[in-house]
């Protein structure tokens, strides 16, 4: 194949480069905002970025992986949840509370999550996207794995969401300065009750 036979590309459109990855993420943010999480597809994101869907799968494995990378979330629920669910059932509340408090204790891990929460509070598109992602990637999976009614998973999520919001956004004291283990002791029995009743 000669150089002339190669398709013409815009500068920086070399597949597999760091730049292509950035283009996919920019396309993903646009598509997720426009269509929401449920209706967005890897194919649609690839088309928007002008790349092959296989390349998107190669970089990010799944739509969930693209979303997490696009929002700069510190972890992919599909990777983390099986480990949390797999341990002893009578300590699942403790594992969930400790995981969430530990993960969000690092500012660089917490800030993208807080930023999306903030945007979602004042923006209809963002709240729809967040609702669909939370439901599909987190709440439905845990509720199904534990065979509990979805509403119990939702109030457990509301407890932890409320605590993180009061700790990091409203900064209520002493909650904002409390150490992780004190909070695990107070909160774990609540989450445990919701998830085992």
């Amino acid at each position: 194949m000669t150089e002339q036979a190669a398709p013409r590309r815009r500068p920086g459109r070399r597949p597999g480069s760091a730049d292509t990855r950035g283009q996919v993420l920019a396309a993903a943010r646009k598509i997720f905002a426009e269509k929401g999480y449920d209706k967005a597809t890897v194919r649609g994101i690839a088309a928007e970025a002008g790349v092959d869907p296989a390349l998107v799968h190669h970089y990010f494995s799944s739509k969930e992986g693209v979303f997490v990378a696009a929002m700069q979330f510190p972890m992919v629920p599909a990777d983390v949840l099986p480990k949390i669910i797999a341990g002893p059932g009578e300590q699942i509340g403790e594992r969930i509370v400790r995981f969430l408090l530990t993960m969000t204790s690092a500012p660089e891990a917490r800030e993208p999550i807080v930023a999306l929460m903030r945007t979602a509070m004042v923006n209809e598109q963002a709240v729809g996207m967040l609702r669909e992602f939370i439901t599909d990637a987190i709440l439905s999976r845990v509720a199904q794995a534990l065979s509990i009614p979805p509403i119990r998973m939702e109030v457990a999520f509301a407890q932890m969401f409320g605590v993180l919001m009061m700790r990091y956004i409203v900064e209520l004291e002493p909650l904002a300065s409390a150490d992780t283990e004190e909070l695990v002791e107070i909160l774990a029995p609540t989450v445990q009750r919701y998830l085992t009743a």
Copy 2:
């Protein structure tokens, strides 16, 4: 006293008129936003509105009353909390959960609260004002009346705040459509445990 001896006033500044009340509320919103809830005073609000502090007390009883009226909140915590606290101790969780869910079920009661929550999430001044009001007017009072550590009151508040946010802003289903009594049954034991341990 002759008409000429009366002090000159700007039009609409007649003490006791509906217009004066509106001026006090406009002044209150300005002062609370600038100084926060703790540092704002009835005297400062009266000065901003150009009225006597006694008139502000006459209309609104207290700084708390002015704040609630200025933010269009549906109730004054100082009026409501004693009744909730006074009942049987073993049902206080149930009374709190049912009160909050019933109060927020009416859109006209809920909307000013949701509006301030939204503003607080994205505005440093508003979040400080809300933090101080919540702490002074609600959390400290209940924690003191029940002799519980403040952090337990804060996680109980975080639970209910999270549920209201998921129900009315994020609109997670089935939580958003669940009836009050179903939610009371799930949530009351949590609040009860925090407030009696």
